[in-house]
Subunit: 346 residues, 2 copies
Amino acid sequence: MTETFAKGQALDLSQSVILIAGAASLVGSHTADQLLAAGAKEVILLDNFSFGSAEAIKHLENNDRVRMVKADLMRLPEVIEATRGVDGVVQLAAYMTLGFSQTPWNAVDVNLRGVQNMLEACAINGVKKVIFASSNAVYGYGEGIKGALHEDLSFHSKGAPPAAILYGASKIMGEQLCRTYYQQRGLDYLVLRYSTVYGERQHYRAANALYIMDTYDQIKAGKAPVMPGDGTETKHFVYVTDVARANVKALQSATTDTAMNVSGPAPVTTGELVQLVLDYCKSDLKPELRPDPPGKVRLTSGGAFHIPHDKALTAIDWQPEVTMPEGVKKLLQWRESVDRPSVARP
Amino acid sequence: MTETFAKGQALDLSQSVILIAGAASLVGSHTADQLLAAGAKEVILLDNFSFGSAEAIKHLENNDRVRMVKADLMRLPEVIEATRGVDGVVQLAAYMTLGFSQTPWNAVDVNLRGVQNMLEACAINGVKKVIFASSNAVYGYGEGIKGALHEDLSFHSKGAPPAAILYGASKIMGEQLCRTYYQQRGLDYLVLRYSTVYGERQHYRAANALYIMDTYDQIKAGKAPVMPGDGTETKHFVYVTDVARANVKALQSATTDTAMNVSGPAPVTTGELVQLVLDYCKSDLKPELRPDPPGKVRLTSGGAFHIPHDKALTAIDWQPEVTMPEGVKKLLQWRESVDRPSVARP
């Protein structure tokens, strides 16, 4: 059975001005690179630089098809001004799980009101399409629901820390705000639910992706890498250049009003991942199994899962290309080529 | 296996000042009645009267243990002022599903920032315990998750309208904001997940509870009551006096940091419910099966379910008392005793 999708406007990039909100970032900078490579007429890089790193987009500052705009999603007039004449928006700006733990008021602001401000500005200015960066966190964590609505089944959240659930629920709400604007204001959108993004220009804010960097740092310091649990916990990463390509494909597609996973070729266990980093480092250190210290914010999947991405192939003609061994190698080669990561650990 | 719960402060109501936020409402007014009957030292009725009805709490205005405060959850200074010297808070003020469809900006404000403001004020003023009114909407709607994280499984939301998912997710976030304040600021709380509340002083804002009133109005007008689908759709109501008693019990309990369902004795199908109203009206009209008009906001459960409430018995010594036939009778007797419902249809 082939799923059919609602059809809206497909963007011809050569005729289009694309704004990336949260551009000075891992995903933002790669998306800008690929939009330019695909011939976009103009790319506007919007960031408030509260987390964004000028370094991540420094290589673009002399490109005459690039315009940098320092603006804040919480100030609606700035967002309306920035989206004037824009054809497509890639809405990346958001707080992640750590932010919901450390500064929950800011996180609620940006992930909800900030998204509303962007959608409102797009509706006002007749932007043709919005790509909303969502997350596999919308699926929740823990065990599935069976029949009776027992209290511990809500949002599959058994055992998850509040910040993780807040983050996931904020993305659920962001997706539904997009649907609301589509239904009430005719604004085309696609939701891309990224799995854990990793790659060159990796920052230190993402709880899960950080694990590769932490493991590498540990091994380079001559210490055994720490592995939570028994090493069988599933993670499903996606390489940042694959994510950037999905953003470009989504803008170019006529498909609208639906959500799709953007995940890597296959999931990986924590044990396999640590071994990939050990192999890269040519280290014979043995992983140390260790339970998390109390209060640490880390997402656990609660068992084996995988995140299919066949819907994205049908909907926007996208599938991932970078395998986990290739991706880890590319990330760590980049890590070794720079003095320090592009964004310091908070 | 008996579940054990974290223990915090149990309130002695005779020594306690209790504030109800969103007091001029169905649940608020009954909660005030029962707090006073249980000997509460003082009950503060806070409302901004944007939805609240002065009529719902008019019978309390000359009670010398009652104080009315007109304040808005969106203005933090007012909330800090209102919670000074307060021992316990029942946080009811919220937008429901219809509000997320009609005025999503206000709904996001109140259900998230409003809740944050109340929790912050409680932490500042050393309030001993907060009861947070959540909803079975946190379980989402539609089919359960199986194994692969396919796109249509998110938040069990297959087919649900955006406003319903926004409402449910806002309650998930409210619950987790409570957990955050408990973990970071030591504020005791209990989450009560009400199922569909109905009863005397019923207003016309709740999509599901409205169904009983609509059915009654239809029959009284001599028209066949409309039944969506085939009449087998499950609904699980809870009578308002049972809900109010759960709020009182929760304040009196030492149990903290957990969420529990507050549901009626048993679920009911749409067919059974319509028959109860027909029986009450001594009508021999036959229900008319009719699909919903496009765009109508109505929650569908997507199949049979029930909402167990045995956790509340263990955690706060509460169980529901009012059966569906009793509750429908009480509601409709009240409906006939008043000129018009306490809150006009928006």
